[in-house]
Symmetry: C2
Subunit: 203 residues, 2 copies
């Protein structure tokens, strides 16, 4: 059985749990409290030298890191990752957009504010993250103005990856009220069969 | 013919030019001077709403963004992207590592120091990037201590993606002398057939 090392408040981990739920794949959850440094212990670093969750243990001793690489691997052969090469390339484009242009601003702001409770301590850092975070939301909103889903007119892992931290962006201080197309898309994602909330897991 | 919108000092662009050279695929180069804001003009944003190079025009009006998504797409069916699903997942793991844990520290430092010439203006920001940048190099060096290549014992797009900004890390103030396995790997990458330097393109 697959084993997922994860922290339930993590949007990166949530991506994987949401896909596993929608694929109906059972897995064992091993909770890792990143707030207590449990992803930087010698034992964890032996599994993932980069010290991050989520981490998927595909079989005993065989680990795969990076949430979006895990999504791509698990979704193979399913409706969430169509087989056409150019479709997969466009999905990857949005997965890299998510990790480079979206997550470092929106997820990191949420982490400081909502998980660490240190909005005041990180005030200057948070201020610097607002413009690029809103820019990422703008790119998404304009893209969704003409489409229901990010790639190929269907719900794919591109939507799963982008939903994870977008739907909790307000916890990072990002207002979504100015992004009507994002709000409509969030509702469409939530209406997908098998949808679960961010801290849910298993059955 | 493929058309690549690129800035020749960009490591992200170099990844694509290096792979195209090694695949022997001809392409048209359209230079975009990001230092003059040419990737943020209305004309460029109409092609890539995220305003970044490299951007590949696969056919007229059909664009693919994100360097590592472009690598994955172009390398399909070649020796640089073996077909086994788990191998591709591990390659993607390193591509996401590169964009999340490596590029934002090492490439951004190089940009401020070597391309903008503003080491003094960005002194505080640069200081914050040293620890995570060196951490990424440490992860790479330990991985390479036991292997010649990042994935599956062969030169793949994982090596190409990580080579791009690692080999110019000293331009960002990162010393590589403490990373002997990285240095040996850099030499192996340079010795690959069809290798070109960072600002090279075409034949």
């Amino acid at each position: 059985m697959l084993k997922l090392y994860d922290f339930l408040d993590s949007g990166n981990g949530y991506k994987v749990r949401l896909l596993l739920a929608q694929l109906g794949i059972p897995y064992e959850l091993a909770e890792v409290d990143i707030l207590k440094g449990e992803s930087r212990t010698p034992e964890f670093l032996a599994m993932n030298p980069n010290g991050r969750i989520p981490l998927l243990e595909i079989e005993p001793g065989n680990y795969l890191a990076e949430s979006n690489a895990i999504l791509f691997h698990l979704a193979r052969g399913s409706a969430y990752l169509p087989e056409a090469p150019l479709t997969q390339a466009r999905i990857l484009q949005w997965l890299f957009f998510e990790q480079y242009s979206h997550e470092p601003y929106i997820a990191t702001s949420r982490f400081w504010i909502a998980l660490l409770g240190k909005a005041e301590e990180f005030r200057d850092e948070l201020a610097k993250k607002r413009a690029p975070g809103y820019a990422a939301l703008g790119v998404m909103d304009r893209h969704l103005a003409q489409r229901d889903w990010f790639v190929d007119g269907r719900y794919t892992i591109a939507d799963i990856a982008l939903y994870a931290y977008t739907h909790v962006a307000p916890e990072g201080g990002f207002e979504l009220t100015g992004f009507p197309h994002i709000l409509a898309w969030l509702a469409r994602v939530r209406a997908q069969p098998g949808h679960i909330g961010i801290t849910h897991h298993g059955d």
